[in-house]
């Protein structure tokens, strides 16, 4: 077995076992913490598709994360406050059903990514990094000053939304649901990476001229990847909002974009399980260092710096070595 596969299986096993063990021993908070890891990992997996596979360094993925969060907030708050969201063309009262919310989040995440991608994929390099940042900031300021859904105060939901057949208020059940989504998303991204589209996307990153010469338009490939990536991140946003039963413009902030990016780099760019390892390490550091000192950001900074300077390839690079192409 390749070492990377071994690491992946070990990570997955840990995600299955640890929370169950924490739950059994009454450490419910660790279940919540792992839920956070899993949801943020989904956001990272979304970004990794664009960034790792496609080489699209987006500094604006908070835009999609936030859109997902607000989809949850808006749908659920309308139902909660008995104010129909739509009366025309059909009556829609909002929803507290996660499958509905997730679907809407995917659609709106994809649409947002489509419009941002259409404009920003005309640029490349640093310009792309910065224009995606600019779009994220636009949405951030919009969310802060848009009064209908709470502005900077955000929106809070009394009760976590429902999923058929589960009691989502029980931490371990909600965790199981999130883990299932993570596994599904990982499976999807894995298949994409092996597919025709994935091959073209990787080629677009390595050598766009080559792709053109074989009659494939890199722009189309990148845009499609950006849209899928945005949709996945939006799904994570909706789930994150449900974890907190709360959504705020903070989800749109550039620091959020930065953190999602940190998960990917910390774990290993372009590696399937990279964002999972990255999110886990980040949250663990936040939890442990945060308990040690008020000034824990300093230590976090040094750890990140160490990873960039001395552990290229991130955690996965350390554990499983350099990625080797295979077919």
């Amino acid at each position: 077995m390749r070492r990377e596969t071994f690491v992946n299986i070990a990570a997955l096993a840990a995600l299955f076992v640890l929370p169950v063990w924490a739950n059994a021993t009454g450490e419910t908070y660790w279940v919540t913490l792992t839920t956070k890891v899993v949801i943020l990992a989904i956001a990272g997996v979304g970004l990794n598709l664009a960034l790792g596979l496609g080489g699209l360094v987006s500094f604006g993925h908070a835009a999609f994360f936030g859109v997902g969060g607000y989809v949850m907030g808006i749908l659920a708050s309308h139902l909660q406050d008995y104010v129909p969201l739509l009366t025309w063309p059909f009556l829609f009262e909002g929803s507290n059903q996660m499958p509905v919310i997730w679907l809407v989040a995917l659609v709106f995440g994809a649409l947002t990514a489509l419009s941002i991608g259409l404009l920003s994929l005309r640029t490349s390099g640093v310009y792309f990094i910065m224009i995606t940042l600019a779009f994220g900031q636009m949405l951030f300021y919009f969310a802060i000053s848009w009064p209908a859904y709470g502005g900077e105060d955000g929106l809070s939901i009394y009760v976590r939304n429902e999923f058929p057949g589960l009691n989502t208020l029980v931490p371990i059940e909600f965790y199981g649901l999130c883990l299932t989504v993570l596994v599904a998303v990982l499976f999807l991204v894995w298949r994409i990476s092996l597919s025709s589209f994935g091959l073209a996307l990787g080629a677009a990153r390595q050598n766009a001229e080559r792709l053109q010469a074989v009659g494939i338009e890199p722009f189309r490939i990148r845009l499609t990847a950006f849209v899928i990536s945005g949709a996945i991140t939006a799904l994570a946003g909706a789930m994150y909002a449900d974890l907190n039963r709360f959504v705020s413009p903070n989800m749109f902030s550039w620091q959020t974009s930065g953190e999602i990016m940190v998960f990917v780099i910390l774990g290993g760019v372009g590696r399937l399980f990279g964002p999972v390892l990255g999110a886990a390490l980040f949250i663990l550091m936040e939890h442990i260092l945060g308990g040690m000192s008020e000034f824990w950001h300093i230590y976090l900074g040094f750890v990140l710096l160490g990873v960039v300077l001395f552990a290229r390839g991130g955690l996965m690079g350390l554990l499983a070595g350099r990625e080797v192409s295979h077919d």
């Binding site: 908070y29 919540t32 502005g151 907190n244 709360f246 989800m251 939890h287 308990g291």
Partner: protein, 378 residues
Amino acid sequence: MKLKSIALAAAMSALAIGAHAEGLKVGMITTLSGGGAGLGIDVRDGFMLAMKQSGRDDIEVVIEDDQRKPDIAVQLADKMIQSEKVDVLTGIIWSNLAMAVVPAATAQNKFYLSPNAGPSALAGKRCHKNYFNVAWQNDNLHEAAGAYAKGAGYKNTFILAPNYPAGKDALTGYKRMYGGDLAGETYTKLGQTDYAAEIAQIRASGADSVFFFLPGGMGIAFLKQYADSGVDLPVVGPAFSFDQGILQAVGEAALGVINTSQWNKDIDNAANSAFVDSFQAEYGRLPSLYASQGFDTANLLISAAGKADVKDQDAFRAALEAAEFDSVRGDFAFGPNHHPVQNIYVREVIKEGDVYTNKIVGTALENHADAYAGDCKM
């Protein structure tokens, strides 16, 4: 892995007298790192000072840093409720964080005592029997500023605030009590630091006074630039931009500015002078508004813990409602929506030796309650 788990003495006193000897666990979620940490640190220090003075060893306080991020605050609340099994939560500074945490905490049958934020929703439609605000409803200080402006005979005020909910509440609060004309009403970008354009508008507007609500660094920048612009219209604002912590950074530009507050260090009562002295002795700096609120919050909690066991929620709630503690503000009572009914004073910025501080020059509103109590159905 808690930041500081301060059991105020050995837990051996568990066998102590009375029905309330069970012990009480308090979770404090506040901002201790990053921008805005100064406010959280003051609340924490004021709170812990009261705890120390009370000498009660059956109250344990767990403190965590929310980094001013709402999502982190919610997760910390979950942690404190699920793992630490706290009975009471407190500490949040910012309205948006309070909106995220308070409904979740009260929904899980925990008490929440707010030492700073008082968003209108939590005072009105979404009030809760387990939610107590020990500071003010957000509009209060702005209403007092409006009342002051009316009393001072201002007829044409230029008002400005950042474009976010608290900013809108501020201007609404001011207008509620002011009643005169507006020379202009401007919303600035949250976090904006250059106000040249707004000051030019003020100059050109023909206003006779200026009201502003710009918390934190925004207020420092505005005041310095305003003083430097040569516009000399009187300025009124809520206490937040003139607090002990940031006044030194504004410097001379703040001298003489009128601001409104429910507390000042020169309020004449025994509790207050003892608080001011002991805070200075303990931490080596003058206490701020936030420190006073933290101190009051702790004393309210201690008074209730002296009367009832927190496990008996109804009794504990009644003890909180009674609010029988010596507030550093003087008289203190809760209205029907568990928000304070209190005096709000007019302060002026002065210089004492090398230190900029405030003195009380009048009372803007007496026994003032908030405007949302009517919407609250507990």
